[in-house]
């Protein structure tokens, strides 16, 4: 049973109370519930959230073993100049749920406002395909984009990875793998309320077992599904599965880490950001007070969400040197006139 924390942001409170209370011990039920909530939300979204200003196309990518289909969705802003920088994005869903629809709204928003081409990856899901299937798909997608960059108008020297929730773990792991395997050099890792650590020992993970959007009980189920034969919390779990276990973070790409106060994943995200910084990695950390897991795309009209999505777009544009949307990056900056100076 989920409960809304009393100090939740006022504009997020109603949505927090209405978050579907999903149980990830029941994978088909969680998949179904997540897809249903998304379809209902989509039915109410204004056409503005469609793909205006973008070309949106789906295509299949080749994989290392060639035995399965790996779909990706491309969001190409009309204002992108060839060769354009690109973000490879991985959706959330606890490694067991979600698809190209899950983060469609965010990908549209980021591509349109930042001017960066976004490639969203439909990686394989646990428990049918436990670790490392999803990571291999995500890394293969990055390699494909790097190898085919000139042909599709992408600059192979300006690539970023990013992901939300479980997709954040995949993005961080792809960044580790690219460093270790001398893969494509990355300009940014965008980690949005990321899953980081299967040990589940942080204060936020211990405290938040009934928070809206995500809770510690579902984290237990998530790791069990994703790790398959590996026991969660045991030393057998590699950093490529749980990037919070990585001890050497030097040489990783610059990072932007977003966390939400009432999210069990909060402290593992903050911890990773702190350790990146200590390892000499340029790191931007934004901890959103009063927010819950998934707040920005869950309640896109709330002030905190507008702030978060604007920030993600501008971080991307700055890191990758893209051409942002002509009218300015933000709905807020267009609608709110600046305060007159008071002195």
């Amino acid at each position: 049973m989920q409960r809304v924390p009393p100090r939740i942001d006022a504009e997020l409170a109603r949505a927090a109370a209405c978050q579907p209370d999903l149980d990830y011990s029941d994978v088909p039920g969680a998949r179904r519930g997540l897809a249903r909530a998304l379809k209902l939300a989509r039915a109410f979204q204004t056409p503005e959230i469609g793909g205006q200003g973008l070309r949106v196309t789906d295509r299949d990518l080749p994989t290392r073993d060639g035995d399965h289909r790996l779909a990706a969705r491309f969001y190409e802003p009309h204002q992108a100049r060839s060769p354009s920088p690109a973000l490879v994005f991985f959706h959330g869903g606890a490694f067991v749920a979600g698809d190209l629809e899950t983060e469609h709204l965010r990908c549209v928003t980021l591509a349109r406002r930042s001017g960066v081409i976004v490639m969203s990856v439909d990686y394989r899901l646990a428990p049918e395909h436990p670790f490392p299937a999803a990571l291999h798909d995500c890394y293969d997608a990055l390699l494909w984009l790097h190898a085919n960059a000139p042909a599709i108008g992408v600059d192979p020297a300006r690539l970023a990875v990013g992901g939300s929730s479980a997709g954040g773990a995949l993005a961080a792991a792809v960044a580790l793998m690219a460093r270790d395997c001398h893969g494509p050099s990355l300009t940014l890792q965008l980690l949005l309320y990321p899953v980081m650590d299967d040990r589940m020992e942080t204060p936020s993970m211990r405290a938040f077992d009934d928070t809206p959007g995500w809770n510690a009980i579902n984290s237990v189920h998530m790791w069990r599904h994703y790790l398959g034969a590996l026991a969660a919390g045991s030393e057998a779990v590699p950093a490529y599965a749980a990037p919070g276990r990585a001890t050497d973070l030097a040489g990783l790409p610059p990072a932007y880490v977003l966390t939400a106060e009432f999210d069990p994943l909060r402290d593992e995200g903050i911890d990773y950001a702190g350790r990146l910084l200590q390892a000499g990695v340029p790191t931007e950390l934004h901890q959103f007070p009063g927010a819950f897991h998934g707040f920005d795309v869950g309640v896109p009209q709330a002030g905190l969400s507008v702030l978060a999505l604007d920030e993600q777009s501008s971080v991307l544009a700055r890191a990758l040197g893209a051409a942002p949307e002509d009218e300015g990056p933000s709905r807020v900056s267009r609608e709110v006139s600046p305060e007159p100076a008071r002195d």
């Binding site: 109370a17 579907p20 179904r32 897809a35 249903r36 379809k39 209902l40």
Partner: protein, 98 residues
């Protein structure tokens, strides 16, 4: 409103308490009565615990009134073979037309 129909009645009660309950209509779309996606997600969870029936997003969007959604719920609550069962009384008049 057909208050004699138990499913319609129960569904009206659920919707009244969720929507704040003024002028609830069983033949007008939830959306025209002020529902947004958050309210509909909550309505579906309530239906699940109240009726033990899982309603898909499409089923709700295609049957967006209390009356029509009540029919969807009833169909789901029928045992799967119920539609095949002949429900006519066994003592039918043989002279009645088939």
């Amino acid at each position: 409103m057909r208050t004699d129909d138990p499913t319609v009645h129960k569904l009206s009660e659920l919707w009244t308490s969720l929507s704040g309950g003024k002028d609830v209509r069983s033949d007008v779309s939830f959306i025209d009565q002020g529902a947004d996606s958050l309210l509909l997600i909550t309505l579906l969870s309530e239906i699940e615990s109240e009726f033990d029936a899982y309603i898909e997003a499409e089923e709700l969007l295609e049957n967006p009134t209390i009356e029509s959604l009540a029919r969807v719920i009833e169909r789901k609550l029928e045992p799967s073979d119920a539609r095949l069962v002949d429900r006519r009384p066994h003592t039918v008049d043989p002279r009645a037309s088939p």
